[in-house]
Symmetry: none
Subunit: 435 residues, 2 copies
């Protein structure tokens, strides 16, 4: 019987404690794959908590893929390997253990609190005024200035749309231009993107990645109308789309009415070395690029603020078609973030966090040099973002490799897990996270 010591604390509900204990036991193999968990009633009795509490813990574990519920049979631990790809889809670049990203651990609470407090006392009228659907002018101006300075993107704040997370922005794009269209997504890639388009009822075409970006011939053959890419730093391969391919993509988009490129610039702030990579939007003469970025990675995934820059030709259509919706981000946080950017705190914060990532990356790379397992390995993608790829020179299967690496205490995932069309040969390649 599972028995855990639960603490009565204010900060962590009992169900979270139970959830964490069981999760850890599954990860560490204390609870084996396919092992049956006690029934909710029995576990509740054993731990001296309510059945609802156990139910909440089980439902969290189920929704994260650690546990499966079999009708009339009960709850069973999932197979760890299937879990690993699953959780990764959920959390992307966030730390598995605490579900907290490194950037979030370093969240600038004191400054945020100060700005929020000042606004709540000085800007009451502004905070109570409903913004247009695309967000407060104040935050859109701050973002426009920021991306002009840091991404060389010079756009009017009118073209910027602020929304509660990138998933919500995908929904807006789907409403705006998605009807009957096919979305091209990168393969391998971040599966959440295709999951959301599919969930919205849109069709997805999986376009293979090459060493310099997506396969343009495959894109042309796919029938996709809208291509969703991350040209500055592809997840998970780290590939930077070459200049030639960028123009080929823009050419593809301009060939036919209704074609668009969604440039997902999700971690461009975290370039750790080398020169910054120009955005696709900044060279888009055909007005076909929807640029998208988020503060989830750079501030915290729990503050739901993302934004996109629409092509000029879609700006008016957006205003008309989505006029019935309201902006999904609270004005309180829009104004706080606007001041956070305008008064230079965001830049300082990014620099501090980049510095930390760099240190974590260097520590990790130094650590691997101690282990024979890593002999002859090839590290790529370490210039940017919160992860790199390591290709091993090994006879081990991918599963064995992951096991070894996990045993040594690294936080890693199989590259092959991110493929829609699974590679036939073992890739001997893992994604390593700096946390």
């Amino acid at each position: 019987m599972l028995t855990y010591v639960l603490e009565k604390t204010d900060s962590e509900p009992l169900y979270v404690q139970i959830y964490k204990h069981i999760k850890k036991d599954i990860e560490n193999g204390v609870i084996k794959a396919n092992e049956k968990l006690p029934s909710k009633r029995v576990l509740a009795e054993n731990l001296g908590v309510s059945i609802i509490t156990v139910e909440n813990a089980y439902s969290q574990l189920t929704s994260e893929g650690y546990v499966k519920a079999l009708p009339k049979r009960g709850y069973f631990a999932e197979n760890i390997s299937s879990f690993q790809s699953y959780v990764h889809n959920q959390n992307a670049v966030s730390s598995e253990k605490t579900n907290i990203t490194s950037a979030a651990k370093d969240f600038p609470f004191a400054i945020w609190a100060k700005l929020m407090r000042e606004d709540l006392s000085n800007e009451r009228e502004m905070l109570m005024t409903r913004p247009p659907i695309n967000g407060t002018e104040r935050l859109r101006c701050a973002i426009a200035k920021h991306i002009r300075q840091f991404r060389n993107i010079d756009v009017s704040p009118d073209r910027i749309v602020i929304g509660a997370g990138t998933e919500y922005l995908y929904m807006l794009i789907n409403i705006l231009i998605g009807e009957g269209r096919t979305f091209g997504v990168e393969d391998p890639g971040y599966s959440k993107i295709s999951d959301i388009y599919s969930c919205l009822g849109a069709k997805c075409a999986y376009i293979p990645m090459e060493s310099d970006g997506v396969d343009i011939a495959a894109l042309k053959a796919s029938g996709a109308d809208i291509m969703h890419i991350s040209p500055s730093h592809h997840f998970p391969t780290g590939v930077v789309t070459s200049v030639g391919k960028r123009y080929a993509l823009l050419g593809w988009a301009s060939e036919k009415e209704g074609r668009y490129i969604i440039e997902d610039d999700y971690d461009s702030e975290f370039r750790l070395s080398g020169r910054p990579i120009p955005s696709l939007l900044s060279i888009d003469a055909a007005d076909r690029v929807i640029y998208m970025n988020t503060f989830s990675k750079s501030l915290s995934p729990t503050i739901r603020i993302s934004y996109m820059v629409l092509p000029v030709s879609l700006t008016e259509r957006f205003r008309q078609k989505l006029n019935c919706c309201s902006c999904t981000v609270s004005t309180f946080e829009q104004y706080t973030l606007a001041r956070f950017i305008d008064e230079g705190y965001f830049e300082k914060h990014i620099n501090r966090v980049k510095h930390l990532y760099k240190k974590r990356r260097d520590n990790m790379l130094e650590k691997i040099s101690q282990y024979p397992l890593f002999k002859g390995c090839r590290v790529t993608g370490q210039d940017s973002g919160l992860h790199c790829l390591i290709e091993f020179d090994t006879q081990l299967s991918d599963g064995e490799l992951l096991n070894e690496v996990t045993k040594l205490g690294f936080h890693a995932r199989l590259l092959s897990d991110y493929y829609k069309k699974k590679p036939t040969d073992a890739l001997h390649t893992l994604i390593f996270y700096y946390d």
Copy 2:
């Protein structure tokens, strides 16, 4: 010695229970101003709890101004009148500018700022933890408790979904059950509802309103699968759906697989007189009602927090189908709102605002009695919400009528503007807002 009965519940930590007991005793004068409270150690022993628990309760009381800590002397009850003026200070901010709803003018800035500040300093890990798609457990528990108390709706927090505004919740409903379905909407009605469903690509059927709710025969003939209604207080007519019609609606929903009723309870907090009207959800034995409410009306439309209660049968489907999405409301505001509700501020706020509305309504009704234009008019729907209907005994056209009324300084709109199928005769009826 203070002695309280404490309950072991998951939803309310011990320290909160102690804090509430003492607070109540101070408010009721059971503990007098400047009376010395027992030391933390002594009270902990007496209640059989840890010193930390008492410390937390005392610190909460101190930070809210119920108790003061005097160095080396201990804890003393504050003078109640100073506290009351503190709460009262919330009322001080009342901007008269337009574009701000009355509720928003009365937004409790000082308390909100205090709660936010405390969380930003004490609950950092919680604020950085990604909640499930349906929102933080903390806020869902607070809402569950609130609607149990105020709407007699007894549901598990698992069934509650928190989202950034009702429009966003409509989107989720459309993804969850909308595919290929027709949404029935009230005619007349709030046109934003049908606008959004249409914008999402769903079909709408306009169901005429009768004096006791929607026309059930028309609903049956319409082919609608999902009926979106506001049975407690229809906008704009103020009609309250009769008990007979409520059961007819539930009967209609249960007749066929895939039928649902969306109960839009948007202004149930603002019932100004008479007994509260039971919700449709509270009599729904067939598990077909999606209950929906928002803090836009009761707090501010610029804080984007709404919620819905799903039928049990949709809860698991929701978790599976929308697992790829993230909750759209910042955890910062979720926790602040949860405390705002849990600690009784929301109830106080609603009461204060209701009182103001009542006064504004009475002023308006008194004002109209001065003008000959209103002679013989019939006022309806004045028991609830932020508006009433006035039917005039006049030969003026509706346009001329609106002109006259506007000239007299009232904020009114034509009832006929809210019809999809425009009435052929002039209705001589205007909607008057209390602001």
